[in-house]
């Protein structure tokens, strides 16, 4: 139960993962660009495939097409690997390419049609809750899920891109062709709904252990 440690910094797992990830991606990018490193290419695929496939799915609504679109994006990455180093923000580049490729697929299928952010369809079960880690009751989780489910599609998509894919507001606004203001408003709405879904239960679940401050 006891571990010795001499040098420790208190960093949350999230920070660690986020930090590791961007360093890892930078490293992979260099290995692919400079050494045609196929192992690095595979790793890059593993890092982004799930996120990109889900994003493509929100546009194409077909698992198979979404997979093909992402595969096309990665083929392009391999083709232009020697200039990969010039891409500053590879993650955003991958999302933007996935959007473009998916919209092209859609055009071929349905003829010329502009898709707007309201048409994106987000798969919800990918927004993940671990009740044990969160200490939320089953009842509260179903309420949280309900709150997220009841968000308008565009709001849901923005929430997912920010929360799960770690995109910045500015990146989301570029990706979905929305103003920053809209992204801010939609995030505010999503958090407010989530907050009231969780907050509803507070005194019920807390009163047994802690006396109310008032």
């Amino acid at each position: 139960m006891c571990l010795t440690f001499e040098y420790s910094v208190h960093i949350t797992t999230h920070d660690c993962i986020q930090m590791d990830k961007s360093i890892q991606v930078e490293d992979l990018k260099k290995r692919i660009a400079l050494f045609d490193d196929q192992q690095a290419y595979r790793e890059l695929f593993m890092v982004f495939y799930t996120s990109l496939q889900q994003f493509a799915f929100s546009i194409l609504r077909s698992k198979q097409l979404a997979e093909e679109a992402v595969s096309d994006v990665f083929i392009k990455i391999w083709e232009k690997r020697s200039s990969l180093d010039t891409i500053d923000n590879l993650k955003f580049y991958l999302f933007a390419s996935t959007r473009n490729t998916s919209l092209n697929y859609l055009k071929k299928q349905e003829g010329l049609r502009k898709i707007n952010a309201d048409d994106y369809w987000v798969e919800l079960h990918s927004i993940y809750f671990d009740p044990e880690q969160l200490m939320l009751t089953a009842e509260m989780i179903s309420r949280v899920m309900e709150a997220i489910n009841s968000l308008p599609p565009r709001c849901k998509l923005i929430f997912k891109l920010v929360k799960e894919e770690g995109l910045k507001y500015r990146e989301v606004s570029e990706l979905l062709d929305l103003s920053i203001k809209t992204v801010e408003n939609q995030m505010t709405l999503a958090l407010k709904k989530l907050g009231s879904a969780i907050g509803f239960d507070i005194y019920k679940s807390v009163s047994s252990t802690i006396r109310s401050p008032r």
């Binding site: 139960m1 006891c2 571990l3 010795t4 440690f5 001499e6 420790s8 910094v9 208190h10 949350t12 797992t13 999230h14 993962i17 192992q39 290419y41 595979r42 695929f45 593993m46 495939y49 799930t50 496939q53 997979e67 992402v70 595969s71 083929i75 391999w78 990918s126 993940y128 809750f129 671990d130 880690q133 969160l134 200490m135 939320l136 949280v144 920010v162 929360k163 995109l167 910045k168 507001y169 500015r170 801010e184 995030m187 505010t188 709405l189 999503a190 958090l191 407010k192 989530l194 907050g195 969780i198 907050g199 507070i202 679940s205 807390v206 047994s208 252990t209 802690i210 006396r211 401050p213």
Partner: protein, 377 residues
């Protein structure tokens, strides 16, 4: 209206889009709306969760992608080097197993190295934490974890709550910890990150205080030879009672610090007005102005901040813990020296470098004999 602003600012904070002014404003608003605190904490926890990855599906997607590339004529190897062709679910299953094996081996190796370091250290230095099970003691049902001077330790309790123990500290808990109630005894300094469990409250007993916790992170500094006991709340909510006034409950909110004078009971005769510090005070956690490091928990990173309000005598206690040295003052005046608080701190500095830096701020003379720093002028 302000509640709306909280969600707006929280979103920016979580997506790391917020600037320092916005973070500060959020903090202020949260203090005005403690009722939203719980929701915000849960959303923040929720935010930290990574989404699950379907590893087998991911690997087969990679194989499909590589096959597709091959079909299109790109010279990419189908399998990793040495694995040959013939990618199928079976082989990827085998690969998974192999990976698991490698992982297990790697873990054992880490464990082995860790244990080796542990034992090597415990033989030749005092940089070690000890967990002893006192067999002869009347408290045989207690686990005790203690750290020597100059060392720190991390303990994971049976309920997965984590305690970082600073130097010269002791944590006691029953072997049946967590069966019904979660109780620990602390002497010294610890940072607690407590797993939420409304059914089983977490209670920390110190010499002066009892601290009752929901699910939260905070620092307790309660060394027997210090002048004060400090409780600093980082997030969540805690309820503190003083042992000699069990009916008065103090609720701490994030970023608040409770300071209780340790001589409170004994010097009751001294009139309140004559005291330089109040018996009990709720203040704010101190953020280091340059990079926002929390001064109260910097010890976890082996960093010691020079605080403007602390005398050399008080600082010496912290230095003793950090460096595992003793301090002896042969001059009463120097004991009361203060060194300003311009965010100065020691981390990797040697004891000589640290003392030299202090001399520059306020000169004193010292020499070192064995493990004792003697200050004579």
């Amino acid at each position: 209206m302000t509640a709306e602003k909280i969600w707006y600012l929280l979103g920016k904070k979580l997506s790391e889009d917020a600037n320092p002014e916005e973070l500060q404003e959020l903090e202020q608003l949260m203090r005005l709306h403690p009722d939203i605190q719980y929701s915000i904490q849960n959303i923040t926890d929720l935010w930290r969760l990574e989404k699950p990855i379907d590893q087998p599906e991911l690997e087969s997607a990679l194989q499909r992608h590589i096959s597709r590339m091959k079909e299109k004529g790109y010279p990419v190897q189908l399998e990793e080097a040495g694995n040959g062709a013939g990618a199928g679910t079976q082989s990827s299953g085998r690969k998974n197993k192999r990976r698991q094996l490698v992982f297990v081996l790697a873990c054992s190796l880490v464990l082995l190295i860790g244990t080796t370091i542990y034992f090597t250290r415990s033989h030749n230095s005092n940089f070690v934490a000890q967990q002893s099970f006192k067999g002869t003691d009347p408290r045989a049902d207690m686990n005790e974890v203690s750290t020597r001077m100059g060392s720190r330790s991390k303990i994971v309790l049976p309920d997965k709550s984590v305690v970082w123990l600073n130097a010269g500290s002791k944590l006691l808990y029953e072997k049946t910890f967590g069966n019904t109630i979660r109780e620990v005894e602390l002497s010294g300094e610890g940072y607690f990150d407590v797993v939420k469990d409304p059914e089983r409250p977490f209670i920390i007993h110190t010499e002066k205080l009892n601290i009752k916790v929901l699910g939260t992170a905070f620092n307790v500094k309660s060394y027997p030879n210090d002048e004060t006991t400090e409780t600093s709340l980082i997030r969540g909510m805690i309820e503190v009672t003083m042992k000699d006034r069990p009916d008065e409950k103090i609720i701490l909110r994030p970023n608040e610090k409770l300071t209780v004078r340790n001589d409170g009971g004994k010097s009751e005769a001294v009139p309140e007005v004559n005291r330089k510090e109040p018996l009990v005070a709720i203040g704010r956690i101190t953020f280091e102005p340059h990079d926002g490091v929390i001064v109260e928990t910097a010890w976890m990173d082996n960093q010691l901040f020079i605080r403007a309000d602390k005398s050399f005598a008080e600082l010496a206690l912290d230095l003793e813990r950090k460096y595992g040295m003793n301090f002896r003052f042969d001059n009463e005046k120097v004991k009361q020296f203060k060194f300003g608080g311009a965010g100065g701190s020691f981390k990797k500095e040697s004891i000589q470098q640290a003392l030299h830096a202090l001399q520059l701020a306020n000169y004193f003379r010292y020499h070192i004999e064995d493990d004792t720093v003697i200050i004579d002028k």
